[in-house]
Amino acid sequence: MHYESTERKPLILGDKSYHQITEDVVRPIETAAPRAWWIAFSIALVMFLWGVGSLAYTVATGIGVWGLNKTVGWAWDITNFVWWVGIGHAGTLISAVLLLFRQRWRMAINRSAEAMTIFSVIQAGLFPLFHMGRVWLAYWVFPIPNQYGSLWVNFNSPLLWDVFAISTYLTVSVVFWYVGLIPDFAMVRDRAINPVQKHIYKILSFGWGGKAKAWQRFEEVSLVLAGLATPLVLSVHTIVSMDFATSVIPGWHTTIFPPYFVAGAIFSGFAMVQTLLLIVRKVFKMEDYITIQHIEMMNIVIMVTGSIVGVAYITELFIAWYSGVEYEQYAFLNRATGPYWWAYWSMMTCNVFSPQLMWSKKLRTNLVFTFVISIVVNIGMWFERFVIIVTSLHRDYLPSSWSMFSPSFVEVGIFVGTIGFFFTLFLLYARTFPVIAQAELKTILKTSGEAQKKLHNDHGAHH
């Protein structure tokens, strides 16, 4: 039997048994939804429907209903795409990278973080899809034989790399998530009394029985998937950044983009995990599983990645000056002092300044403060993408082409709609899926449970 140092804080509070974990995880599924859930769900659904309407209007009329113009041909849609993809990075990072690093605190949060990843990548995918204009021809991005020759897709283009990266990332995240869900669905199935519920979970659990050989394969598959997903998650935002970095726009054409984008993605993703989990632990009374220790760990990740992002911003400024290229210098001067100065300084305040407050242990273990910062960080990261995209484009090489961008109500509607869609999916997930990977969590109960640790320590003291 393996025991953990007494110095390590327990990851499961209280005196839990295996059965108690089952009960606690399954409670949101087996009990009726609280009123707060219905209110949140209704709001999310209305937002989602507004987005559906805005998309329908866009498809029926054309991209002209957005605020784009000849100079700023990419704006909110790509900003939102990058923002959502970035948020989607935390889930796989938590479940894959932290698995490889054997960080046990991931077990209470990986299920929800992966759910968040999948739901946010779905939102991200909508933007390039609809920006194509003729969305019914979206399958043209795949290398399918066609009547033009065949005229193939261009494998030299970062936009096509993106198609492959996002599709791979979404589908691999889904199977990674589902492989972990199968045993937990089986647990729900085996307890279900309602025949309809039992039947649904029977279908979802794929007949899982927890045989020893199946568990052995389960662990091997999880490990290999983690090994595959780790470089995958880093590749996705690297490739997203190449959409910009391989072009010749001042402010985009920089080699720092891949690591800088990846750090920003982890930063915003952890912030979104934090926002969601603070609500989940409160509403579903999971404070014993998602402890202050978990919150603090995530805050430290936010602080570190926020600092990396800050260093990247400063490096960008330095290199713009040091390069001696006047267009590059102007692009950065214009960001800070031009007509979009407010976006730049919002970004700086939210992303560089606010995470530094996490150096204080008192603040990073404070739930209200954490919640506020988690939202501030995501506002900041949205502004980062807006600053990179719009301020770099709106001052073209020819001053006669200079222009400004402001979104139309349709673009705002689509963005709000994706937020609604995201929360609709997440709220449905929170009521029907085991939100904590209970099978995995049970494996650490004896080593990291509060009562179990205490018992072992007291027992150990007698020898």
């Binding site: 494998f155 030299n156 007949g207 899982w208 045989k211 020893a212 490739i239």
Partner: protein, 173 residues
């Protein structure tokens, strides 16, 4: 693991603790009884060794699938960009595949991961007999909660051995 064709009645012993289970499995095997299956609610570390299970080869399969994905990606990029319809895009050299290869690295990587991950998971589902709507493979629903079940063919002296090993319930199926 198909059941043996000879109809020896099965004995099912329930345990309520994973450490007891591990020592029980060791004891039972040391006493010369053959364990046909163990059902647990979570992966119990060391159980596969205690039962004498062979190591899983699924990682090797994943590696093969990855190589296959890489081959598909090489073939795809070569055929479409070099052989079937070469185009001068952004002045990138397309005389042969090797010269154009740096631009294909992301595609090569993504398809390697795509094939390795998906085919491995398909393999995992097939060899474990997992598919939507399959009947539950555990005979007792408590084994997905907090009970651990050892299933073995009936033999002389088995019940006593199981009782001694710490089983909380013993039933003949």
């Amino acid at each position: 693991m198909a059941h043996t064709t000879e109809s020896v009645p099965l004995v099912r012993a329930m345990y309520h603790d994973d450490d007891v289970l591990i020592s029980a499995v060791k004891q039972i095997r040391a006493a010369g009884f053959k364990i046909s299956e163990v059902y647990t609610p979570f992966p119990v570390h060391g159980l596969d060794k205690a039962m004498g299970l062979k190591e899983s080869r699924i990682a090797v399969a994943a590696f093969m699938y990855g190589l296959f994905g890489l081959t598909v990606a090489v073939t795809l990029t070569w055929y479409m960009m070099i052989s079937d319809w070469p185009q001068n895009i952004g002045g990138k050299p397309n005389i042969n595949w090797a010269m154009n290869m740096p631009a294909f690295v992301p595609i090569l990587f993504e398809m390697t991961v795509f094939f390795a991950a998906h085919l491995m998971v398909w393999t995992y589902l097939v060899i474990n007999g997992l598919y939507p709507g399959a009947d539950a493979k555990n005979p007792d629903p408590r084994t997905t909660d907090d009970y651990f079940m050892v299933e073995l063919p009936a033999a002389e002296g088995l019940i006593e051995a199981l009782q001694k090993s710490g089983a909380v319930e013993i039933a003949e199926a």
